[in-house]
Amino acid sequence: MSLLDFILQIPLEGVLGFLVDLMFFLAVYIIVTTALNLQYGYTGIPNFGLAFGVAIGAYMTGYVPGRLAYMLYYEQIAEKVGPMCPTLEYVRCNIFIRNEINAILAKEPLISIGLLVLTLFIAVLAGGILGYIASYPAVRLRVDFLMMVLIAIAEGVRIIGMNYEPLAGGTLGVSVPNLMAWTGLPRTVQSAIMVLGITAVVIYYSFHLFRSPYGRVLKAVRESEDAALAVGINVNRVKIEAMVVGSAIAAVAGSIYSLYLGNVVPTSYTRYDWTFWPWLMLLLGGRGSELGAVAGTAGIITIRRIISVYKHGVQPLFPFDVVWLERIALGVAFLVIMMFKPYGLFPEKPFRLKGIHEKPVRLKEAEKG
């Protein structure tokens, strides 16, 4: 069998589906690693509680748009859902209510867009507030204590989300209405437009931030707090801002992740998926380097998605769940990177500024003259 035959045998839809899926995960994780790059790569705050920003963004997406739409069209929905689910509680009758909301919102483009913008705004706001709370220890504690506290905060957010049903449906989760149904396009295209659009905005904003004078302020704080203080930078304020902005960006990732999947399952916001994997991506790429963060994310996400496709084929060979082999690979990859490539594959380039790092040509000419 030639290679061409082999390629032709792969069903086209499967490949397309895989690529769409890959694009989506790439977009979400690039946002998350960018948030981490801002906090750890640029400002030097080791945020091991990255997952809490993502989780709060997702919880808010589970909480806000569905309930608002339910309140707006309460009578219309209650009439139809009532016979199937008499309690009419949002979380308990979630599936029925979501179906009704989707049917209504498909005809209401303005309200859909309004809900989408409002949801993202509230997710960003909640992420920022949580980031502000987490910045309280971040400006006060040593690195080792800070790591414990941030992991503790992330675990706490996850435990509350997993148990407190009104927030995001507890262990079963809650579904999110489709806010892009009005376009009338196929589901994958809708999500692709939404996810890629939001990602482009976030990436543009953060890369702009990194290259601005403010990005250099962040690096100054990372390199030496004392020196930064000496030239008049308010170090604590910079750290607080990095925590707030980074958590808000992570919340956007959580929000689009749940908007795309159409549901929020609090048990999935674990520290493995949303803290440790992004950390590995950033360390692999190189901290403080935009190219590194994107390249590290792209590499690891591609490998992980391919593994997730072929996982089921390999499963019968092992007397245990193959998920754990991936975990071992995660841990080993951390150790290997730290031992052999501590600055990542694409290390941060020293910063050069026109007029300061250029060769002083004019001076020499002046001397001659």
């Binding site: 080791p46 091991f48 979380v91 309280y136 220890p137 006060r140 504690l141 690195v143 080792d144 204590f145 790591m147 414990m148 506290v149 503790a152 905060i153 675990e155 706490g156 435990i159 509350i160 997993m162 148990n163 407190y164 049903e165 009104p166 927030l167 507890g170 493995y272 440790f276 950390w279 360390l283 007397p319 245990f320 769940d321 754990w324 082999l325 975990r327 071992i328 995660l330 841990g331 080993v332 951390f334 150790l335 730290m338 031992m339 501590p342």
Partner: protein, 319 residues
């Protein structure tokens, strides 16, 4: 109605077993200068050794205690010698050392889960959420684990006091804690001190984990839950003290279990689930509060008190 005797016994055994971990955690924290994130997972390995000995080899449960000590102690040496020592030699910054213990934890957690799956699928023995309380013996009319853990904890505490304050090796250890570089200059083999402390503390974690399934329902995730208690107790007691760490472990363990039970009697449900589901939040909250209110822990308070008492007298500083 709540049977308060049962609750108190549960809190007591829970705290006693975690006290082993807190002591070990503090010791390695002091000598190697990094918090060992994998310490809770060391205990989880002990749990599965007990399951293996009891259910698969069908031997006496308490054989697992020395076995767990040896296995996990060697694992501790392996982790220090294979991961932390090379990184330190390469001059890795503190943050990478912290990540390295997390990486070790990720690997060990995966290994435990693989073992649990293997026991489940191949040996056909329940390996998640198992409880071996009926395998326990009774000593002096009390449950064996209660007596054994108390005796072992006291003997380890005495052993540490003896080791640290009455032997030459203990002096080397304390010197390493104070200043590793200076200790190395005056001829202390810092690496040997570290190896031995990782050996002992790993073994203690193994013993603690080996006794855990004798009273509590356990699964592979237990390690990552109790490490939060260990952190909280370690910081509340002050990372520099082993004995105050035991006191604060009891404080946190009792607050967690008795507090949850008491809260459940007043408010049975929060947000659609029983209040007891929120139990892990208590040590988390205590950790955050301890760090923000009392970052030096009880040990810091005690030092302040001692300084106050010594004020006005001529103090000859040990140099």
């Amino acid at each position: 109605m709540v049977e308060w005797t049962t609750v108190v016994v549960q809190a007591y055994i829970y705290s006693t077993l975690i006290a082993f971990l807190t002591m070990g955690f503090n010791l390695t924290y002091q000598t190697a200068r990094i918090p060992n994130w994998a310490h809770g997972t060391f205990a989880a390995i002990g749990m599965y050794i007990t399951l293996w000995v009891t259910r698969i080899w069908e031997m006496h449960t308490y054989i697992s205690l020395p076995l767990a000590f040896i296995v996990v102690a060697l694992l501790g040496v392996l982790v220090y010698g294979g991961v932390i020592y090379p990184l330190k030699r390469a001059g890795a910054p503190e943050i990478l050392l912290l990540i390295s213990t997390i990486a070790v934890d990720i690997i060990l957690t995966a290994v435990i889960n693989i073992e649990a799956d293997y026991i489940m699928f191949v040996e056909k023995v329940v390996s998640r959420g198992f409880l071996l309380r009926e395998e326990d013996i009774r000593l002096f009319g009390y449950p064996g684990v209660l007596v054994a853990s108390t005796i072992l904890l006291i003997s380890f505490a005495i052993f540490f006091v003896f080791l640290l304050y009455f032997t030459k090796f203990g002096m080397a250890m304390r010197a390493t804690v104070e200043n590793p570089d200076l200790a190395a200059t005056v001829g202390v083999n810092v690496d040997k001190v570290n190896m031995i402390s990782w050996f002992i503390t790993g073994g203690m974690a193994g013993i603690s984990g080996a006794m855990l399934p004798l009273w509590f329902r356990t699964d592979p995730a237990v390690g990552s839950l109790i490490i939060i208690n260990v952190f909280a107790a370690s910081i509340l007691g002050g990372v520099r003290s082993l004995l105050l760490a035991i006191v604060s472990t009891y404080l946190i363990g009792f607050t967690e279990i008795i507090g949850t039970t008491y809260l459940s009697t007043i408010i049975p449900m929060i947000g659609g689930v029983s209040t007891a589901s929120y139990r892990p939040l208590i040590p988390l909250a205590m950790l955050v509060i301890a760090l923000l209110v009392l970052p030096e822990g009880f040990y810091g308070l005690w030092e302040k008190y001692r300084e106050k008492k010594l004020k006005g007298r001529t103090v000859v500083e040990e140099t």
